[in-house]
């Protein structure tokens, strides 16, 4: 089964569409040249006119050279002919199949000129070619009318047919780079600008390809772009417009400030603690978004505990923190948190998601070994480059060296290649397994060159149980290759955009890969980790989704991401240091309360974004607040959800609240969307109700101890929400409860309802 299909299926199960369109592109050169108004720029040069049929002496006419590869294919792409829903589909349409967006010109040439009995072109009377008659609807065409006779696409195709249909050749000039003008610009809502696109070819030719390029806006709420390249600013914010032509992709950014009147000193007076704040405030100033104030101590401690360690602070911890008079008590709190076992549990769980630790493909001992290997490194704060280097080059017995289980989970080089690039480079190569990536620069050759780096892993299973994922030994083999499906040949092993291994090299391919991956020239590796960690604390990556770091998906604050990447590399890939830097920034400590002018901001960090807690954190918090632990089959009572090494441990609650299946490396595996079953389960399900009614639970214990209603309310608020109730809240709740003097059983029922109300409240279920 194809990877893309299984990926789709896996993610569909979780009700989520994968937002996985990776990117990368030929060098982008964007020159700042926004002109004053209107759509002034370079009008595409009109195509050469169709040669009139003046005489039947064709040799006399000068035939403009028409290149199949650089002219005909771009026309088919621009007009949508070779798109996925049309003839670019695997099976084509109505018997006519082209390669998706023209990635294989030789195959397309055959399809147009030769296949189906050559019915599609008529070189003797070019105008009678179906290639022209269908898209102009001179004959019925399921795809409708794509262009008019005499239009640019028509003329290109007609001239090509009339020129005798010159075939593609290995010597065709290659696209070297694309240039978009104008470059980055700050505009106002309602402004329009026309983009010009210039293509530079390997033979030195420079062509205006504005009319043949395709345009896409990364965020239609900020800017839209039509197929002529006219950009219209639709709302405040910042986004990128990507331009693609042949295999090239280029990007230009546009932004429009919010219509706010913000005093200049707002940004100067706003607190700055480290480099993060400089970049965040610069972006907010650029977009005229006012920052919210700093969160109060109650909100901060709860937020910090949940984001960094997935636990709630106890009442005692909150009270101690509040009582600390030291001005840097927040930094001190962060340091204490980062030293806790729960911090290690939390990040081990996160990286286990990333590495797909699961009993789906591993035996119990292997799950444990892999988990312990990860946990050991998180506890030791092993530099990220060393951690991944060890993983990539792992050899040995799977129960001795836990990292080797990565090669037990992925049993073929293409699966590893895809999940590995997704995990550590934020790139989706999957498309390129079957064809050149339609939107990005990755070709099928790149894919199989990369996959071949994983071709020499040998696995020797030990006959100790005969089950899946039992003890095995992973070694590097001396031979083995992955073969390119079209050519049937092995591509030289080559990191993405890296130098291929020399043919005679006997170096372990995985070592070569790991050196490149963690080497100084590969910033993408650090960038990906920084973005993942940022996403954990801000609810959204600087690049969103958090593992979609293709070049056409721009960061919301590129200078910040770059600065953090540099900082992270210079710190020696210190993950804990990065977390500390983030948590101590004023940006992270901002209130979640919007202020006038920043309500619409969801990505520039003018306030803390509220978000639902992850499934495991909610379940653990239920246990923590009520004092009634969860019991997972096969694990000792008291094991928290975030301590589970495996996501296949049965739990209806965790499944309903969207824990990841760990089938495919994808941020979309974890589902954070609200669903009806979630609501029904919190209302009727036993996860929460059993805890509230338990005799050993918080409510029962407080009632049995003779505590007053007011005390119970206080205790619930402090433990669940890290704050005392307000006077108004206390008053209203007391009025609703049976008096302290009432029958204890009756009191208990009322207080259980109170507990239910608090533990299902938005304030509890969300981080804020």
């Amino acid at each position: 089964m194809r990877r893309s299909c299984s990926r789709d299926a896996a993610i569909r199960r979780w009700g989520r569409s994968p937002v996985r369109v990776a990117s990368c592109c030929a060098a982008v050169a964007a020159v700042a040249l926004w002109t004053a108004a209107g759509e002034p720029l370079a009008q595409p040069a009109p195509p050469e006119p169709i040669r009139p049929m003046a005489s039947h002496a064709p040799s006399a006419a000068v035939i403009p050279p028409v290149s199949f590869t650089t002219q005909v294919i771009p026309v088919l792409t621009k007009m949508g002919c070779n798109s996925g829903p049309c003839h670019g589909a695997e099976a084509g349409k109505n018997g006519f199949a082209l390669t998706l967006r023209g990635y294989d010109p030789a195959a397309d040439y055959d399809a147009i000129v030769r296949q189906a009995g050559g019915r599609r072109v008529n070189p003797l009377e070019p105008a009678r070619s179906l290639l022209l008659l269908k898209p102009t609807e001179a004959v019925p065409h399921m795809g409708g009318k794509r262009f008019e006779p005499g239009s640019m696409p028509y003329t290109v195709l007609a001239n090509w047919i009339a020129a005798g249909m010159p075939p593609p050749s290995a010597n065709d000039p290659r696209l070297v780079r694309l240039e978009v003008t104008p470059g980055d610009a700050t505009l106002a809502v309602g402004d329009t600008r026309r983009l010009g696109v210039t293509a530079h070819f390997s033979d030195g030719a420079v062509r205006d390809v504005s009319a043949l390029a395709r345009f896409a806006s990364a965020d239609e709420t900020v800017a839209s772009v039509d197929d002529r390249g006219v950009v219209r600013i639709t709302g405040p914010g910042e986004t990128a417009v990507s331009v693609s032509f042949l295999t090239g992709v280029a990007l230009t950014r546009v932004r429009a400030p919010f219509p706010n009147d913000v005093a200049a000193d707002v940004y100067e007076r706003s607190p700055r603690r480290n480099l993060i704040d400089d970049h965040v405030l610069a972006k907010l100033r650029e977009l005229r978004i006012p920052p919210s104030g700093q969160a109060d101590d109650h909100a901060f401690i709860r937020r910090a505990y949940l984001d960094a360690a997935g636990i709630l602070p106890t009442r005692a911890e909150v009270e101690a923190f509040l009582a600390d008079p030291s001005p840097d008590r927040r930094a001190a709190l962060v340091d204490r948190l980062l030293a806790r076992d729960e911090f290690v549990d939390y990040w081990t769980y996160r990286w286990s998601d990333l590495l797909l630790v699961s009993s789906r493909s591993l035996g119990p001992a292997n799950v444990r070994a892999f988990y312990n290997w990860i946990r050991g490194h998180v506890a030791a704060n092993t530099p990220w480059d060393r951690f991944v280097y060890e993983l990539a080059t792992a050899t040995g017995r799977t129960i001795d060296n836990g990292a080797t289980n990565y090669y037990l989970i992925h049993r073929n080089p293409t699966d590893i290649a895809e999940n590995f690039t997704q995990a550590f480079l934020g790139l989706t190569l999957t498309c390129a397994r079957c064809h050149n990536h339609p939107m990005e620069k990755w070709t099928q050759n790149d894919y199989y060159g990369f996959a071949n780096l994983f071709a020499r892993v040998s696995m020797k299973e030990e006959a100790d149980g005969g089950g899946k994922g039992d003890t095995a030994t992973i070694l590097s083999a001396a031979t083995g290759d992955v073969f390119h499906p079209r050519s049937g040949r092995a591509m030289p092993p080559r990191p993405l955009d890296g130098v291929p291994m020399s043919p005679g090299s006997h170096e372990d391919r995985r070592v070569y890969l790991a050196k490149w991956l963690t080497g100084p020239d590969n910033r993408q590796f650090a960038r990906t980790l920084v973005n993942r960690v940022w996403g954990n604390f801000f609810g959204r990556g600087l690049v969103h989704p958090v593992d979609d770091l293709r070049e056409t998906n721009p960061a919301s604050n590129e200078p910040l991401l770059e600065a953090l990447t540099t900082h992270f590399i210079e710190s020696g890939y210190d993950v804990r240091g990065l977390i500390r830097l983030i948590m101590t920034s004023a940006a992270y400590q901002r209130s979640s309360e919007p202020r006038p002018g920043n309500e619409a901001d969801d990505r520039f960090c003018s306030r803390y974004l509220t978000r639902r807690l992850p499934a495991e954190v909610i379940l653990d918090a239920f246990s923590q607040v009520t004092g009634v632990p969860e019991t997972f089959e096969g694990y000792p009572t008291g094991t928290r959800a975030l301590q589970l090494p495996d996501t296949r441990v049965s739990s209806y609650f965790l499944d309903v609240f969207g824990r990841p299946a760990r089938v495919i490396t994808s941020a979309a595996e974890r589902m954070q969307d609200p669903t009806l079953p979630q609501a029904l389960h919190t209302i009727n399900g036993d996860t929460l109700n059993r805890r509230l009614m338990a005799d050993e639970g918080l409510i029962a214990r407080l009632v049995a101890a003779g505590r007053s209603n007011a005390d119970v309310i206080d205790e619930l608020y402090w433990t669940a929400l890290s704050r005392p109730p307000t006077a108004a809240e206390r008053e209203r709740l007391l009025a609703a409860l049976a008096p302290d003097t009432a029958d204890p059983a009756e009191r208990r029922r009322g207080l259980e309802d109170l507990g239910w109300a608090v533990l299902t409240s938005t304030e509890f279920l969300f981080n804020h």
């Binding site: 049929m53 064709p58 018997g95 003797l124 009377e125 009678r128 047919i161 005798g164």
Partner: protein, 451 residues
Amino acid sequence: MRRLIIVAVLGGAAVTTGAAQPPAAPAAPPDFARDVVPVIESQCLRCHNTAKSEGGLLLETYEDMMRGGDTGPPIVPGEPDRSPLVLQVEGRAKPKMPPKKTLSADEMAILRAWVAAGARYSPPRLPHPDGRLPAIAPAPVSPRVTAIAWRPDGRELVFGGYKELRRMAMPDGSLQPGWSGPSDLVRSVAWSADGRLVAAAGGPPGFFGEIVLYDAATGDVRARLEGHRDYVYDVAFNHDASRLASCGYDRQIRIRDVASGRTIGVLREHTEAVYAVAFNSDGTLLASASADRSVKIWDVETGARLYTITDPTGGVLTLAFRPGTSELAAGGNDRRIRIWRVSREGAEPLHSIPAHDGAVLRLAYSPDGSMLASSGADRRVRLWDAARGQPARLLPSQSDWPLGLAFSPDGRQIAVGRQDGTVSVYDAGTGELAADLVSPHARRPAGVVRR
């Protein structure tokens, strides 16, 4: 949008032409092509088409319409009150047609008046591109040679041209005046076994398919057979030239009575283009090859499908019966030649040969059945020992896709026509080139056959 195409049979007998009709006076009865066709197209064709054919009734051609479906002819010329089609659309017979809507009074009146006036045919207004297209001068290219056939006495070769059938006297290779008639590229040619008829099939792709039937002695057009709704890919005579089978991009196979030109069967089970048809040696079975990856075997007499062979893993582009045997060879996109022994009951696989490094384009048996020639998209022509399925010879590499492939009647030569318009003849015994008969960009023969 479906279009109705009208069958015209010229020179043959059956159907009258509209030419004899007087100019339409205001009170003149409705004209078939002008008035009736639009009603049928808009109201009836959605169900009574090749794909659906409700009640076995096809209304795509005049011929189909008059023949009728499961319950017999729907029209009795001159007698609207005995014509089920008229009565059913008027709601005077059951079931009412169309089932869920009602024709306008004008539309009903047209049908009634047309039937009353004799339900006459009028010549088709074939959708045709000429005159509506911008003129674009072509590069100097030769028409591709997609089909080639020897006269049974071996003294002439015909091959496909553009709007003509090209002819060459053999063995000297001198080009003879072409026969006009086809309105577009000739995709397939066939001689009847008795040498008296030549069929040239093709048509303007996307518009309609056509077969031009020539008197081989005079070059006169005996009939122009239209009915296919798109490009015709292949045409074949049966052993005694009483039947003619054709197939095309419209997924149909049509079996016709050669004498009258009438269609006696429309076989509509393939789900994609049908590329090739062939009769077995006694003319009882018809085999068809389709892009739908199947070969189907049909009973010629009843038009019933006997069975489907689904071994091929790619579209099937060509097939041939081995003379004097019940062996059928087929080839296509899966690059294999597959050979079965076929009977009415079923097909027994004999060989599956990886034959080419590219699609198998054409298969041809030598007249004595000893050799099989195959041509491929790898620009190769190979000869095989037909009985054993073993490679025998490889011909020199070809300048473009070899699409036309035919053994001379004495089995000593093989003619090859190519996508680039060239034609060559090879010695079947040695595999060596005997002569290049048509060179690139030349409409003249480039050489003569060396003997």
